[in-house]
């Protein structure tokens, strides 16, 4: 168990393993997102109230739900950094912050585009879900700029780890905001087995597939940027030099 843990923390081990797995992950991502997109755009029947704008929700729900994973992910990586000083964990955390900011932005943008039709407004400052998601976007930009502001890599890693752990509070607020404060944003419709109902199988299976696809995409993007981080930080390591020499 501990040997496995120590191995997992080795950038070299991660780099080599990801070289093997990345092609399969890319194929799975393309297949799943492709299927979900075709399903949503061609086959999803119009909602009786929203018409075809319900198709926006397949993307919006998938990206929004996935965006909540970033702070917990960074908090776990941050804890590993603080306790075991594992280099790989901090490399993942660093790249997750920037990607998470992207996810939050796309959540806000797609939600806005949907809301402009269904709610008749692009933005509502009094809505708790909207504002807490905007806060997550700024918080993630904060983590990114905190890291670039601190020159010492170790200090930056520790500061970002702490901020990531504290930032998890906001994830809970986002999650339950629609129940605690009943403002504009509606809670998730209950999953229904009845075809043609608000969240019937046509809709939720397409959405579930899209959520899987978005998670796959997240892992592909995060692995790509983590591999870059490894090459950059480990450039003086013998295995990197040997690998580059072997390519020439």
């Amino acid at each position: 168990m501990w040997l496995w843990f120590a191995k997992l923390g080795s950038p070299k081990w991660f780099y080599e393993l990801s070289t093997k797995w990345l092609p399969w992950l890319v194929v799975a991502t393309v297949l799943v997102i492709g299927t979900a997109t075709v399903w949503a755009l061609l086959f999803l029947p119009p909602d009786y109230q929203q018409g075809y704008t319900s198709r926006i929700l397949v993307v919006h729900v998938a990206v929004a739900g996935t965006s909540l994973a970033f702070f917990p992910l960074m908090a776990v990586a941050g804890t590993i950094t603080l306790v075991w000083k594992m280099k790989l964990a901090d490399m993942v955390a660093k790249n997750a912050a920037a990607l998470g900011a992207w996810f939050s932005f796309i959540t806000l943008a797609t939600g806005s585009i949907w809301g402009s039709v269904s709610w008749g407004t692009w933005w509502e400052w009094s809505d708790s879900r909207l504002v807490s998601m905007l806060f997550q976007f700024f918080l993630l930009l904060g983590v990114v700029s905190l890291r670039s502001a601190l020159e010492d890599t170790d200090k930056a890693a520790k500061a970002c780890a702490l901020l990531s752990i504290v930032g998890c509070i906001n994830v809970v607020i986002i999650k339950y905001s629609v129940e605690w404060w009943n403002t504009l944003h509606q809670p998730a419709s209950p999953v229904s087995l009845q075809s043609g109902s608000a969240n019937g199988p046509e809709f939720w299976i397409a959405t579930a597939l899209m959520i899987l696809g978005v998670y796959l995409f997240l892992s592909v993007s995060l692995i790509l940027s983590t591999r870059n981080e490894i090459l950059q930080r480990e450039r003086r390591a013998l295995w990197v030099k040997e690998m580059i020499a072997a390519e020439r």
Partner: protein, 108 residues
């Protein structure tokens, strides 16, 4: 065929129109595609820049090692005088110093 019948549209024009919400639906799917493309292509571009730099660094190190074996100090001075920053944010002189002390860094 069942699958063809399940398609919600009879024509391309109808598909593009999205029941009157063409702008909203296509804006979201366009944004989604852009979001995926950017977050895959940017890391890929950075990777090729990094690899290019690491290869160049390797070539310089080989040469420094070769030259300093013959005339110690000369190549180091040359590298120092260049002093430009590269992709990894180091000057040529720092790089030359690295050559003499390759580190074992594959455990955490």
């Amino acid at each position: 065929m069942d699958l063809i019948n399940a398609i919600q549209f009879d024509s391309w024009a109808e598909f593009i129109d999205m029941g009157g919400y063409a702008f909203n639906v296509w804006a979201v799917y366009g944004l989604f595609a852009l979001f995926i493309a950017v977050n895959i292509l940017v890391p890929l571009r950075r990777r090729s820049a990094l690899l290019r730099d690491l290869r160049r660094r390797g070539r310089i190190e080989d040469q420094v090692a070769l030259n300093s074996a013959a005339t110690p100090g000369v190549q180091t001075a040359k590298a120092e005088s260049r002093g430009q920053l590269d992709e990894t944010g180091e000057t040529a002189s720092q790089r030359a110093v690295d050559t003499r002390r390759p580190q074992q860094g594959d455990n955490s």
